[in-house]
Amino acid sequence: MVAAFDAPPVRITAVSQVPTRYVAALGGVMSYFSSFGVSPELIRGALGVALSRGADDADLYFEHLETNSVSLSDNKVNRASTHVDLGVGVRVRVGDQVGYAYSEDLSAAAIQRAAAMAAEIAAFGKASRPVEEPGAARRLADRYPERVPWDTVPMETRVQMVRAWERRSFELDPRIRKVEVSLIDAEKRILIARPDGRLIEDHLPMTRAHIVCTAEQAGRRETGSYNLASRQGIDFYSPDRVERLCQSAVEGTAILFEAGKAPNGEMTVVLGAGSSGILLHEAIGHGLEADFNRKGVSIYADRLGQRIAPPGVTVVDDGTLPYARGTINNDDEGNPTERTVLIEDGILRSYLHDEISARHYGVNPTGSGRRESFRHVVLPRMRATYMERGGYSAEEVIGSVKRGIYCKTFSNGQVQIGAGDFAFYVKQGFLIEDGKLTQPIKDVNLIGNGPAVLAAVEMVADDLQIDEGGWTCGKDGQSVPVSQGMPTVKVGKLSVGGQG
């Protein structure tokens, strides 16, 4: 399931300054978490307890998250929020079985209590493997360096930013009556410790900006919004990007005055470049997460190596795009992430693996083991999912459609993994009549079956865009940030749930 930033309530955030960024080596552990008392002895002691009943493997996942937000409504910057989360998750694995516990207290005694609880999954009575001395903490990549980190930015600067964005949004269209703005930033530090001595650490920034406009014309009101997100510091908000943020929010609202009701029934659908990647996320992505296939509950189980899409369709899930919301330097098991080709020229090539599913299938993990926080177990998850570009121009794709709809912006989607049925909600689009975009439409759910829709992909354009929106993917009660992208694509038949 995926939702745009503005669809579900989003847990608040806030920032506070962090006095020290990286602490010097202490007893061999060079880690941000040294300042919280995390030492090699503490790590070895906790992992020793975790493995004490004979488990195959274990890991510790330390997390410190600080988020800040400021919001503007009623012409006032009238709300700030801060959120701090600190804790450690202990995972113990026996075969495919997982024991899990967490502690918000980072004292050695508290972590060992959690480790003992997690260890209950194993029942062999004695430790099966030693715990190596932790090496120096390492960062596996540097895909989102912050030029100006959020914890150096005064709160007053954030207030000035949202105020300026509000002013610009009002300037752009006299019909705008109300503007709401929010700016959220987060700095997350993690440290992953494994019994083989690996210590992997990362510092993951995130920011999201969101503008909601309400406009009035001849007594009628419409409301629209736009948001963007990235793993960047304050330098993300360049003048060009801010202008696009404000313009997109205002123009996306104004066009609704011209929008009519969407049509009803099965028809040709053209997915616009960018956020249409929501179709891939729901129709394909979740079904290729290997835990569902290991259990045999996905419609794509047992189909590796088979054709599941027409030639010319290549779908990728990529954790390496610089600064993208779904990008990671390492996954939450401490493994390197990668660019995983899921479908190559129509042939199913790979699932998305964490360590458990990789062992099951006898392959290497794809660096897709992710979790919402230290309170959650690792699951195979998407990162940035997109379709590679094809050979047509967007104009050729649209021009080939006699009657259909063109989907431009989306709010949310959902899939049933086994049946393969999926849906996504189109906030705004257009009718296509005789090869041209005509009447704007809004608010319509589209529904289809994953394999059937893949088979119905008729044209792929050359204009791939990775969407910059603040997409959040939900699975088994866990939310993780993701990205998605798409070139303009024509699908021969989808069910459109309009009223027109």
């Binding site: 024991g99 007053e156 029934g265 189909r303 049946a419 049925d421 069910s495 749930g497 309009g498």
Partner: protein
Amino acid sequence: MDLFALAERVLGAARAAGADEVAIGVGRSSEASLMRRNHQIEQATQAESLTLALTLLVDDRYSSHSTSDLRPDALSRFVERAIAATRVLEPEPERRQPDLALCGRGVDEATLDQYDPASTTITGSERRELTEQIEAAVDALPDRSRVKSATIHLGDSFGESVRLMSNGFSGSHTWSGFGLGVEMTLEEPGGRRPEAMSWASAIHRADLPPLPWFATEAWRKAERRIGSGPAPSGRYTMILEANAAPRILSVLGGPLSGSELHQGRSCLAGRLDQVIGSSQFTLLDEPFIPRGLGSRPYDGEGLRAAPMPVVAGGVLKNYYISTYYGRKLGMAPTSGSRSNWVVPPGTRDLEALIAGVDRGILVAGFLGGNSNGLSGDFSFGVHGQLIEGGKIVGRVSEMNVSGNITDIFQHFVEAGSDVWRYSGVRTPSLVFADVNFSGS
């Protein structure tokens, strides 16, 4: 740790650092979960948690904060930074705390019965046995060989929370929760693997359905998805099964809220005491249901809870208005959030409702979809069964239902007698006439 003592300490620190008004919430919880599949435990989790939330008013400037880092030094820094962040905002006196006279308990804790002592004594081996018994019921299904996968889910938790406000209000409560379910996947020719889940949650363990029900219900729901596909587009009578009905009721949530009314984004603005549904349609907010999943003595800002009609006989009677939006809108506060929603039951069971429909769709569940609270338009994916001549004649999926919030409840015909108790929305099956479906 004494939660009140912690709350008082943080409240005192915030006041000393310059806050004019402070509200503290502290919650402690203990939770465990178990997943069982293929005759072994697949995942077992346990945790204890303690978190603190803080809202501040500093020179009429408002902010909200939360933390799980409760080390004394960290907590002091947290409070100082929270106050510093608040000072840079613009004042909004409407954010002041509610009058103490409006705060308090609407009912005593014993009446709500929100805590089951069994939640603190359940052991790991008892959890295993419960999931084993449900798995045995799955294995005993007549068509067990058609089950591709069945995962048994169990979760239990208990905790206590306190709320302390500088206006003089203080409250605390203890709570518990149990949940059980079976996630089942079948296989059909052609490769589709329809899945369904039986799930029930309750405050008291004894209120959960009998263990075999979880197996038979998951089977019933999954089996009815075999061979499904879209029916022709058109207008049908819609019967919502009781545990699917909350999705349609949820479209009312946004437009009824004070924030959406104030921002001019509600299709129900100005409709108080007007007809928005048929005379058969009533929706109540009932905070005092013993053991109710949404029951409460006071709401999130300490306002004394009270039963409230939302829609009575088709007439809109109340919005959800917090203290802040009440002041902005010039309206008396009701509450900013719902407790239990209740649709009063009728007299006929689901079978009788189906028998009374000539051409209809029995909706068993939803897939995706959303609504626009300003225009009122909604569109949801659905799956379920096709009804003709009072009988189930087919299975449907890949269909959408669409309409408008201000119109759909005018089409409400009847409530069934089969109330789904395992939700904060207590509704029976609901019948709507002449609803727009799109399919093949």
